[in-house]
Amino acid sequence: MRYVMTVSPDFPPTKIAGWYIFNTWLQRQLGEHIHLELYQDFASQRDAIRADNIDLIYANPFDAAMLVRERGFVAIATPINISDEAIIAVSADSSIHEVEQLQPGTRIATTDDPDVNLISMIMLEPANLSARNVETQTVDTYVLVAKQLLQGKADVGFFLRDAFQGLSRMIREQLRPLVRSEIHVIRHVLLAGPRLQARHDDLRQLLPAMTADTKSNSVLVSLGLQGWELQGQEDTEFMIDLMDTLVD
């Protein structure tokens, strides 16, 4: 049997090689044939999930609900010390210093990253803003979000925290974070599908043990992860419940 693994399209482009290395490592460990399929955007990845083409996915928390509750995926592991946090930033010389100063018609630059968009829109609610009274421009990358701000084409930009911190220093110094989320429990999670059922326990053994030997540890390094920790099904259900309270 040939399985398919995929990765939430919001992973940093610099980690593409890392995911191929991880896949090679995983195939060797499991003795299975796994093909890594990367999608350009969330929409095409969701189509593949709905077509039952995916067996293993490093999933955005936003998609975890659909994967677990509709497609029978189960949680395996989550990366240690990494949670999805959002930063809403403005251009450094912007007259906006608090969210509450923002007015209806505010121009937002953002990507299609669904959990960052969700968290960021919630952080705009204190200004009485919602999808109904803002103008949203969706661009392909966080660098382009920054560019929209610097060129005065947007008033605020939504960033994944790690992506914001990964911007070049020159760009970052021309931006100013307005508000940062501190939610902690919204996290990417590695989920395995029903066809891989027989290997779920093996995955639960292999992944947390990666830090134990130097070879596997170098695989983690190439992914930019400190390690994997097991994620129980109930932890995932809890995160999904939480996400559920945040979407209308």
């Binding site: 952080m123 204190p126 940062r180 939610i183 429990v185 419940d241 309270t245």
Partner: protein, 177 residues
């Protein structure tokens, strides 16, 4: 859903609340009551955070996050095992919570603005969502997530809730007669 008899919670303690404050007697759904001490001082919602708690089907707190603990003024040990009405503020109309319970019990999401009472008598406003947690088709618990509310909506609620409280008081008087 709420139908368990329990011991009354202790009155709020003057040593935890700085003067000036007012004293109110609250009657809870389970027939118990306690005195709460209330100050007219708001604590702002923490920027960028979510206040999260989970309860059993009777509304007893089973889990809460750090933001919840910090904003309530209680310790986690003081909160776990207590009914969620530990945070009930006398300015909140009963009807708001009845609606929350009815909506959540029917499996729908409830949203609303809530004024909560802290251990130190101060208050904080939240925009709350409550959902029923369903596992294998069975309701097992409730989750509530609160976020920073818009001031405009809070101001509207202050008026609305004051009117609702007046109506509730008028109804009580009629019943007594």
């Amino acid at each position: 859903m709420q139908d368990q008899e329990r011991f009354a919670m202790d009155d709020m303690k003057p040593e935890n609340v700085q003067e000036p404050y007012t004293t109110h007697l609250l009657h809870y759904y389970d027939g118990t009551s306690r005195h709460v001490l209330v100050k007219d001082e708001e604590v702002p919602f923490p920027e960028g955070k979510l206040i999260v708690s989970r309860t059993d089907l009777q509304g007893v707190i089973t889990h809460c996050n750090q933001a919840f603990v910090d904003m309530s003024g209680y310790t986690e040990e003081e909160l776990i095992g207590q009914p969620h009405y530990i945070l009930r503020h006398p300015d909140m109309p009963k009807a708001a919570f009845k609606d929350a319970w009815d909506t959540a019990a029917s499996g729908q999401k409830w949203h609303g603005y809530v004024k909560n009472l802290r251990k130190d008598g101060r208050y904080y406003w939240v925009y709350a969502t409550i959902i029923l947690n369903v596992r294998d088709g069975q309701p097992v618990s409730c989750t509530s997530v609160r976020r920073k509310p818009s001031r405009k909506q809070v101001d509207a609620c202050i008026e609305l809730y004051a009117r609702m409280k007046q109506e509730e008081a008028a109804l009580m008087k009629q019943e007594v007669r």
